[in-house]
Symmetry: C2
Subunit: 328 residues, 2 copies
Amino acid sequence: MTDASQRASLSERVLAGDRRALARLLTSIENDDPLGEQVMERLFPHTGSAHLIGITGPPGGGKSTLVNEMIRAYREMGRSIAVIAIDPSSPLTGGAALGDRIRMQEWHADPGVFIRSMASRRFGGGLARNALAVAHAFDAAGFDPIIIETVGTGQDEVAIASLAMTTLLVQAPGTGDGVQTLKAGALEIGDVLVVTKGDRPEAIELARDLRNLRQLGLAAGSELSRWDTPVIKTSAARREGIDSLMNAIAAHWSWLEETGEMEIRVRTMINTEIAFRVQDALLQGIRRPVTRDGGMQRLVERVAAREITPLLAARELLTRLSHNDTPP
Amino acid sequence: MTDASQRASLSERVLAGDRRALARLLTSIENDDPLGEQVMERLFPHTGSAHLIGITGPPGGGKSTLVNEMIRAYREMGRSIAVIAIDPSSPLTGGAALGDRIRMQEWHADPGVFIRSMASRRFGGGLARNALAVAHAFDAAGFDPIIIETVGTGQDEVAIASLAMTTLLVQAPGTGDGVQTLKAGALEIGDVLVVTKGDRPEAIELARDLRNLRQLGLAAGSELSRWDTPVIKTSAARREGIDSLMNAIAAHWSWLEETGEMEIRVRTMINTEIAFRVQDALLQGIRRPVTRDGGMQRLVERVAAREITPLLAARELLTRLSHNDTPP
């Protein structure tokens, strides 16, 4: 089989819902294999319709359990759901995603569920772009929604969650010092605030504190079309709150569509993804010095000679970009 | 005072070693205040001579104590030392850098020591560029060495530490499961491996394991000029090992200079810093849509219309850069 027909075949099989083809594509993407890129070029026109949901929060907040309940709820609605679980193991401390493995076993036989773990230590700075590329592959394969689950300890992970259309910020009672530890920046990330372990007495207090904090005007959107960030209390033990959560997620999606926020958010996501790719390419540039990107190389030398600051070098790069731009 | 004379005055005072002027400059840099940029443009020709030392490792490894011993040793050598302490508090969990505050009190009256804490939650994705800009300011003010201390839990923090000329990877016995948790990637980061709490019996074993691991060929540099990564055991309680550590750091600096690795490393650092700045600018670009960067805007629209992938958009941006580049 020629390379071209191999690519065509793989992309057709992914579009047709072939799980093994999809798994192969995901591996190609994660390995930065050219096949992955080429197949994604074929598949990309088939993306853009899935609801990307980011889930973040401190470790031990019950995110895995919550995601499991969400999988169940989406399956009951007849929707195919993909989960990208960012394994929080750092390059220095190691660690394993036990929760993922348990979940994977539970949903293993269901063709409407696909769970992919990505170890953050393996991808390093390329984690975000790889996670986004994997999300595009799931999108092309017809999964909707696609959940990107991260642990909110590194900036990278928080950044990934904020690349979703709807982001859930998950907080359990008794982790940290309560609501005082929830910084304003984190609240701005969350489109829906989820208080897990709602059967505990402290959960009521945490939910109330979060509702009060929300009143301080930390809602997203423009002045005219504010989103009123809901606070949802869930209990996996009592199977409570999941319906409310599903309604809140659906309501946020409708709000995005109706107010035009969706277009803004999608463009922000694309811009960020391009920026990640440009950064990658620039970082890789130094490793093959005398190639096409002589412009970058000369700027590096000027900074090394202390003629210009790195900021001015970046501005010069971007100015060249704008000036070279031909009219549409 | 006019803006221009204000900038001239601030930069002269920083060069003259005025601590209050330096503190003001650091605040301007951290706030992305234009004054900070303009002053740095004046000061940048005075940078490039300081030894940037990165220190990273898991929490609880005794990094703060180690840095304190290093400050003492450098002061005894008559050198001025600056410490940039990245506060590991995440946006979601909060937290305070108690160790920093204790250190700051101890060295408060010494004009040859400057400790600056940067909260990672405050800077978000801009943490790395801000830390590097702060390092340039310390460099211009005559501090040498400059230590960038981070906790190795987020990719960002690890990335910052690897932007130094010499990076110490700090590991304490009994944290995690010993040497098994030290991944190859982390070993590659460390130019010097430090085993703290060397008075504990398990420290001997950890140091031996690290030396064995090193034999697997995880040294930096080209084939001809390999750096033989030392493993140093320190004990703050017994005041042992700091001299060896200082010698190892000095030896690494000499090795960088003598083999030409320094030039490569400095260029990699500059390239990375420019890439961070470009990424920042691209990310900010979406917030002011119809301005000069129409080229980027049109690429975003083409991706939104699913005509091209984000990767192809990034490549197009970079191709325009190279083609627009005039010969030297």
